[in-house]
């Protein structure tokens, strides 16, 4: 059984009148430990796919089995639970909570799964160490560089031992050198920790870090290459 099993998934929006089919009968399987890049021009459906993959959205039709569980029909609360335990998000704009230090930002996912304060702190410190931010625990986001902020976001994504990390243009706001460092971090997490990493990007350089490239166009998968 693969970690991600998507069968015939459609996602239709009705922004008023004409329905827009953002995803059109998409089927794909992904194994645990994969490092994949999702590419495609804007409007190709890759963001919608990402939202469904990350359990932020549910398909209009079709089935999505995550780790053997059918998440396509789950209630919003159950989806929140899945997001909190199985998926870590990394965004282009970092999406850290302002005026809240690095440590507390990393602790955030654990606030919602009932971990005690001491345990939260221990795990957050450990995650910050993994991303190389030891000593920056008390810094607020505005005191950190873009690369450092993205590292905090990555620490937040791995702190709950999520098996999947979904990164949406994670280097989009960073310079090439820092972007490269962030990509190296993803590679390390993939190799050393066995994390399944899925990165949405439109840069070929970034996609080159992955071992599989999935291309989207007009709501369909038009290419799926492995290296």
């Amino acid at each position: 059984m693969s970690l991600i099993n998507i069968e015939n998934v459609c996602r239709t929006y009705l922004p008023g009148g004409e329905p827009i089919r953002a995803l059109d009968a998409v089927s794909i399987e992904m194994e645990a430990g994969e490092f994949a890049a999702i590419m495609g021009p804007s409007g190709s459906g890759k963001s919608t796919f990402m939202h469904i993959l990350g359990c932020l959205d549910t398909p209009t039709s079709g089935r999505y089995l995550l780790d053997g569980q059918d998440v396509s029909t789950m209630s919003p609360d159950r989806l929140a639970e899945i997001r909190g335990t199985k998926i870590g998000f990394v965004f282009q704009g970092f999406n850290l909570i302002p005026r809240t230090n690095a440590l507390e930002n990393v602790e955030l996912p654990m606030l919602y799964n009932g971990l005690g304060a001491a345990e939260r702190r221990r795990k957050a410190m450990e995650a910050l160490k993994t991303v190389g931010l030891e000593g920056r625990e008390k810094h607020n986001p505005n005191q950190l560089s873009g690369g450092q902020q993205q590292r905090v976001a990555i620490a937040r994504a791995i702190v709950n031992d999520a098996r999947i990390i979904l990164a949406d243009e994670p280097t989009g706001n960073l310079d090439t050198k820092t972007g490269g460092e962030i990509m190296d971090l993803f590679v390390r997490l993939n190799r050393e920790r066995g994390k399944t990493i899925i990165i949405v990007t439109h840069e070929a350089d970034i996609a080159a870090y992955s071992r599989r490239t999935i291309r989207f166009l007009d709501g369909r998968i038009t290419g799926d290459q492995r290296r």
Partner: protein
């Protein structure tokens, strides 16, 4: 699972970020709670003052006034036409089941002289049981007895005010005072009683046997006549039956026909006081209700600011949802925030209300009493306001779609 300490910490930080805004929002609750506390303190103080004054008259009292005199077409006040007699008093004591005791009273304002001092005061002629009925007694010396009434002896009891004015610091017991040139031996000094509810000094008086007053002071026309009868009943519940029984008995004794007016009037002092007390508590409730309108306005202020806060923090809500916060977690966070606003405001209001009540006591010389109940009520009210007005913004926040919330800039 909801993590209360962390949620409170997050909420406090959010409130601290917009310190000025938070304080201004709290102001509505502060003013509301402070005014409710102050109004209740003022009302409770007034009620207590009335009860205290009521206790000085004596409890469970009826007063029967003799009829009004008509002089040249003008009807004078109650008690001006003596229609009651000592016999009436005896009959009331004997025949009215609800009456515990009754005492006659005749009074007049006269000049009292001691040495080179003189003082105008109310001379009251009565029987010894009057002191029991009025729950009064002597501070020094002895009260007069039945024998004094029977023999119309020239003895008297001085009220504190009279004693102070005639004797200064000296002990008046055993001295002789003159009223209308009649010498009276002071046999006792009455206990201090203070003002009655209408503000009259009850210590500015001299008590003497009714017979002595009638024979020696008030002239023969009033012989055997009584101005007022004081009646005490066993309990508050007996007041009304006693009033009925006394009215019936006196109409009979005074031969008043079915269609004729009474030539006396019965006043139920305790009931009058009770209703005064009641109106004070109604006014208190009314003032508090008006004050609590500002609590309502404060609550709306909280709702308004919470709605702004939810909009401002849409992205944060999206982030929290992405990392696993459920609708209930988000709801809880914003309700806690609203609750903190109203709770802190409520506590500030209690402090300011207490200070305001103290100031009113000092500067307006009005007794104020802050009860645990009023504090509890104000506190509970502010909690309720926080939860009630915090709920809608919190609910709105929890309904956000995580994808759209994350996109919000």
């Amino acid at each position: 699972m909801i993590n209360i300490p962390s949620t409170v910490k997050i909420s406090l930080r959010a409130l601290m970020v917009n310190r000025m805004r938070s304080v201004l929002t709290m102001l509505g609750i502060i003013i509301g709670v402070a005014s409710v506390i102050t109004m209740m303190a003022v009302g409770t103080g007034a009620g207590r003052k009335i009860s205290e004054q009521m206790a000085t008259i004596g409890s469970n009292l009826l007063m029967v006034f003799s009829g009004a005199a008509t002089s040249g077409g003008q009807r004078m006040g109650a008690g001006t036409q003596p229609t009651l007699t000592v016999g009436d008093v005896e009959a009331i004591r004997r025949e009215c089941g609800a009456v515990e005791d009754a005492a006659p009273l005749v009074n007049s304002t006269m000049q009292v002289v001691y040495g080179n001092q003189n003082w105008s005061t109310i001379i009251i002629g009565t029987t010894p049981n009057m002191l029991d009925i009025r729950e009064w007694g002597v501070a020094a010396g002895r009260p007069f007895m039945e024998e004094d009434v029977r023999s119309a002896s020239k003895v008297c009891l001085l009220g504190q005010t009279v004693a102070d004015n005639l004797f200064g610091g000296m002990d008046p017991v055993g001295q002789t005072v003159r009223i209308k040139d009649v010498p009276f031996t002071v046999i006792g000094l009455l206990r201090k009683k203070g003002q009655n509810p209408s503000g009259q000094d009850q210590d500015d008086t001299i008590y003497l046997p009714i017979t002595t007053a009638q024979k020696r002071l008030f002239g023969s026309t009033l012989y055997n006549m009584v101005r007022i009868i004081f009646i005490k009943t066993r309990s508050f519940e007996d007041l009304e039956p006693a009033e009925r029984q006394v009215t019936e008995l006196l109409r009979q004794r005074h031969h008043i026909g079915p269609r004729q007016d009474d030539d006396f009037s019965v006043r139920n002092l305790t009931q009058i006081m009770q209703s005064a007390e009641q109106s004070v508590s109604i006014i208190t409730a009314l003032l508090s209700a008006i004050a609590s309108v500002s609590l309502l306005v404060g609550g709306i202020g909280i709702m308004n600011i919470m709605l702004v806060s939810v909009t401002e923090r849409t992205k944060e809500i999206g982030i929290r949802m992405a990392v696993g916060a459920k609708a209930a977690d988000i709801r809880f966070q914003f309700i806690i925030e609203a609750l903190l606003l109203s709770l802190i405001g409520g506590m500030g209001g209690i402090a300011i209300g207490a200070a305001g009540s103290a100031l009113i006591s000092v500067f307006a010389d009005w007794p104020t009493i802050i009860t645990a109940w009023s504090i509890l009520m104000a506190f509970g009210f502010s909690v309720a306001v926080g939860i009630f007005f915090g709920f809608y913004p919190a609910y709105k926040a929890s309904l956000l779609n995580p994808i759209e919330a994350l996109r919000y800039e």
